[in-house]
Symmetry: C2
Subunit: 74 residues, 2 copies
């Protein structure tokens, strides 16, 4: 939410995504529900994201750690 | 979910907590919704958690990074 504030985004717009992700886990496992660049090994998008996080070193570290952990899933 | 499997826990038992956390964000901001040992600066509990994560170095690193990020909130 702090990130959104700093970047002029409205955190509320993310709520449906968060809500649906949580609800989805009743139907499929986190592993099967996983989407996004990490599980696709989409390095181009990952590099774009890291570039966008340049001014947010802590979020960038989290992003790297979570990306690594997702990529070990398969 | 992998952690639960390895530790003999049922991930499904966490679903209501995940669901309620997501729904709660419609009413209060993530900052105001934050609970747990990090925001309380409860080092005793944090050390117990880190001890329990000894066999899971990647989760332990995530735990440390997220704890640091929560503790900077206030």
């Amino acid at each position: 939410a702090d990130y959104c504030l700093k970047e002029g985004l409205d955190f509320k717009q993310l709520l449906p995504l968060i809500q649906e992700t949580a609800s989805g886990l009743y139907k499929i496992s986190p592993r099967d529900a996983q989407t996004g660049p990490a599980i696709r090994h989409d390095s181009e998008t990952i590099h774009k994201h890291l570039e966008l996080l340049k001014a947010h070193p802590q979020l960038k570290n989290l992003y790297i750690l979570i990306t690594e952990s997702i990529q070990q899933l398969k």
